[in-house]
Symmetry: C2
Subunit: 211 residues, 2 copies
Amino acid sequence: MSKKGILMVISGFSGSGKGTIVRNMMEKYDNYALSISMTTREPRQGERDGIEYFFVTKEKFEQTIEEDGLIEYANYCGNYYGTPRAYVEEQLNAGRDVILEIEIQGALKVKKRFPESLLVFVTPPNAKELKKRLIGRGTETPEVIEQRLSRAYEESEGVEAYDYIVVNDDLMTCVEEIHFLVEAARRAPLRREALIQQIRKELKEFAKGAE
Amino acid sequence: MSKKGILMVISGFSGSGKGTIVRNMMEKYDNYALSISMTTREPRQGERDGIEYFFVTKEKFEQTIEEDGLIEYANYCGNYYGTPRAYVEEQLNAGRDVILEIEIQGALKVKKRFPESLLVFVTPPNAKELKKRLIGRGTETPEVIEQRLSRAYEESEGVEAYDYIVVNDDLMTCVEEIHFLVEAARRAPLRREALIQQIRKELKEFAKGAE
């Protein structure tokens, strides 16, 4: 009987560095499996099907919804985004910890469906730093940057729903911190059920033997 | 404005090694303060007032109860045991993390009164090991050992109320694990309130500036 893995959601402000964190977690530790989202939006330059996303048609996506093949999905700006169920369950059952890098709406749906999931929100140390990082990319127009800041403000309204808020000040420190949060989650009673039952059984036998 | 410390309860089966763990946590890390319980029982050989316990009279104990001077208290075998409030609050307000080494009944009372407290239960890897450790001390009669095992069985019924269950297989690993659980708790949203508010405020200002 293998132990089930932990389902973890990593969200964060645009510019929080969550993509880099996830990539480094995958490289540094071998217990993680990364879920790949399904989307109906067009691939951007350099994006590959099955790597960044599974790119599918609207018909295929809606068929997957009907078949209950998604853990969560949402529609942003006319495009569907969702988390395929099969891969996640397969990996969890194999004892691997699965990372979902998704937005807050999806995160809340995951928590509702899997109350034992671990929700981690990544933030820069402060909003000035967040703004600096957004501008620092040098790839976005001022309008897009301001849009993202407004969006970040909206997102900040929901962070209390997460289990943990991690500050990304130093990348590798942040990666290690998140890894420790997963290790901590393994010590919650609901993940110790087998050990608890075993100890209870043995103690009962010892106590009986003493009568 | 200083950050409040974390109130942590460490419980565990008799023979789980929790006393040694607490001692090592105090030696290895400098963020902890150890709460000393108040009791009406007689000091045993070598026990010093204000070190192992505050030894007081029944009258003094009951007066302290009346003055709401205890976070929790209980009566075992005709003796009172309780946790003095003043020291705990003083240390928490100074930003230190306070360790209470108390039993499950006390732990549940602490959690009710301080929902943000962290409850850790220490267990040997299995009941056979627990029995071996109890016998290994060589100081107890078979009757006492069997009593403790029965008691351990009763205690095992309550462990789901704890936030974490830690296996004491290797002492220093266990000490580090518990320390990481405290560090994890610092990242919960309720302990990030100041950061969250600050980021919200700054993001709101940025978003306004963009209008």
